[in-house]
Amino acid sequence: MQSPTRKLLRVCLPSLIFIASLQATAQDNVFTGTNSGATRIRIAVADFKPTSADPSTAPLKATFDATLYADLANAGIFDIVSKSLAPQATPGSPSEIAIQQWAAAPASAAMVAFGNLSASSGRLVVNGFLFDANNQQYPQVLAKQYTDTSSDDAARQTAHKFADEIIFRLGGGIAGIAETKIYYVHQGGGTKEIWQMDYDGANQHAVTHLGAISISPRVSPDNSRIAFSSLDRNGFQIRMYSLLLGRMVNFPMASGTNLSPAWSPNNREIAFSSSRTGDPEIWIADINGTLARRITSSRGPDVSPVYNPKTGGQIAWISGRTGLPQLYIMDADGSGVTRMTDGGYATSPSWSPNGQFLAFAWNRKYGPGAPGGQDIYVMEVASKRWIQLTHDGGRCDFPTWSPDGRHIAYANTTDGRDDHMRIWTMLADGTQKHPLSATGGDMPNWSWK
């Protein structure tokens, strides 16, 4: 008698949920329609004015203009005015700008960033201004001066600094990410090394030269060290690289397989997965690897820990205690274990900087012949509601949040082959996807600041 009812429910429930979700989205659409996205600030970026006749100014100006425009376009909070719609004039100082010209159609800008740039005798001087185009009486929001050596990289970093200042002022007090770095695994020539790049994919270069298989880099919250897992004759061991010293520093070895280190936000402890007692469990040690203690004790593998960066009091991790790997959270002392996913095959969690969301890779219909694939999902921790961010783009894995909580970087392979992995970035709502690295980039980790 029980079974037919259950069978009926099992058939009807998905459609009921589907209908319910249809109604929910319909309601949302009505509301977003009336709102019409007025909160996105429309910003125009004028080409900076060269104020020295030095021949090195022109290439530096081109780099600066392109970088500043890309930074503001990628910030996720601006509706940027296409350069073809902006006025022809290049104002170099507040006295030269006709603010009405920028406020009028077709630019219709609410904010204008402009300034001047000069390079002479090895010095780069940039004056940047941000004006509120709707406030004719007191238009000035920002005025900044930057000096640096005159090189292409300095011009790019200066543009990042000015963009971060604008995003910080207009984005509600959340610091911009244009100066952050992404650490990742670069595979080539039979080895996997830890590499580093700027947040926009520029300046890619190697960090380690171990000639081994190194995976899952995690940078410390103060940007001083990188912890990663490396394969040598003792199996997988946690290794530590100091970015300040530019060399490897000691981290004690242990028996078994030691994987996926994770930094606590106070920079004092490292959680990792170790099978030194036979079964992979979550361990916590201080950053020198001493005083290691075990915090999980169930059969089945426990891997990929990650701290709640807001509080440091919780850990999300992947456990196979019920069969296929699932996403769990617990307090940092091992109590209060809560299962987050209800099925499928979940891997690679990343906790959002504000502590409210978990991003992870999930194959919801795992098994032979099952539809769908592995994609990036974001789950609200408090309610366990989730949304899917990638669709039909091949296998996606290793999401990592940017420190402002607006972006997610991840690895994607369109044809499913591991050596074709490349790193992509997107906004945390799944829009503006674009690749950062060539194929061979894997396991990105966004720096904390």
């Binding site: 996205g37 910080f168 007090g173 504000n354 607006r406």
Partner: protein, 265 residues
């Protein structure tokens, strides 16, 4: 005799009953097994099957990700598209064909010169005293946010803000607009009582130099508890509004913020 008596003593065994009994028993066992598997069916509980998950429900992203709501992009409109389209192809200017050499010119009709009636020169107007200009801004006159108090229609309803330092609102209009947006985004109207419509609650708070709100109080309750509480929570939920503008010398600003519930959907 003995054998006949023996054969006579042993009754012919009736195996029919036993056989039927055995068959019935087997059928019963088979039925019990089938019934057991039918009742205690665990087929839906193995991982990775294709059954729909029932405890999580696909949901839309809440406002906690600090991205503003996105309007649907109209790809035809270059002003709104994410990827600006390239410039339109230049149309080649057509040259007019040369006139036919055999064509005859159309004779022009002689036109009469228009008669213009003489108009009397208007008398110069007597100079009038200038009318006093209204001290208030006309509706639609002011470009953007010029006054300290401003109201906006948002998804959550009408919200309005007045920085009590009137000069601040004019001087740093962008910062005031930012406060308005940030609070409106954190206001969860789903908890509102329908009876809250038509009420208005005033919240006051201070924003320190570093942008953190403090002294969050209800200045004037609306008379509806759900409205008061959701409005208070909206401000309490915010860590920072961003540091006060560089040009501002004070150490904090006072903010009055009022919340009007959204109209019926």
């Amino acid at each position: 005799m003995a054998t006949s008596s023996l054969t006579r003593d042993v009754p012919t065994e009736n195996l029919r009953g036993n056989f039927l009994g055995a068959v019935l028993l087997h059928v019963l066992i088979a039925a019990a097994l089938l019934g057991y598997t039918f009742v205690f069916d665990h087929s839906g509980h193995s991982w990775g099957d294709s059954a729909a998950p029932s405890s999580t429900i696909q949901a839309t992203m809440v406002n906690a990700i600090p991205l503003p709501p996105r309007r649907p992009v109209n790809a035809d409109n270059v002003l709104t598209s994410e990827t600006p389209s390239p410039a339109p192809p230049t149309v080649k200017e057509k040259t007019a064909p040369p006139p036919d050499p055999k064509a005859l010119a159309i004779p022009e009709k002689p036109t009469k010169p228009l008669k213009a009636a003489e108009r009397p020169t208007p008398a110069t107007a007597h100079p009038q005293p200038m009318k006093p200009q209204p001290s208030k801004a006309q509706t639609g006159d002011a470009p953007g946010v010029r006054i300290a108090m401003s109201a906006t229609q948002t998804r959550a309803g009408t919200v309005s803000i007045g920085a009590t330092d009137a000069a601040f609102g004019a001087r740093f209009a962008y910062y005031v607009a930012q406060i308005k947006e940030k609070v409106a985004n954190q206001w969860y109207t789903t908890m509102l009582d329908p009876a809250a419509r038509g009420h208005r609650v005033y919240i006051t708070f201070q924003i320190g130099r570093d942008g953190s709100p403090s002294q969050i109080r209800i200045q004037q309750p609306s008379g509806d508890a759900t409205l008061d509480q959701t409005a208070l929570r909206a401000v309490q939920h915010i860590d920072t509004f961003g540091p006060l503008p560089d040009g501002y010398n004070g150490s904090y600003i006072n903010v009055v913020y009022y919340f009007d519930p959204p109209p019926a959907p």
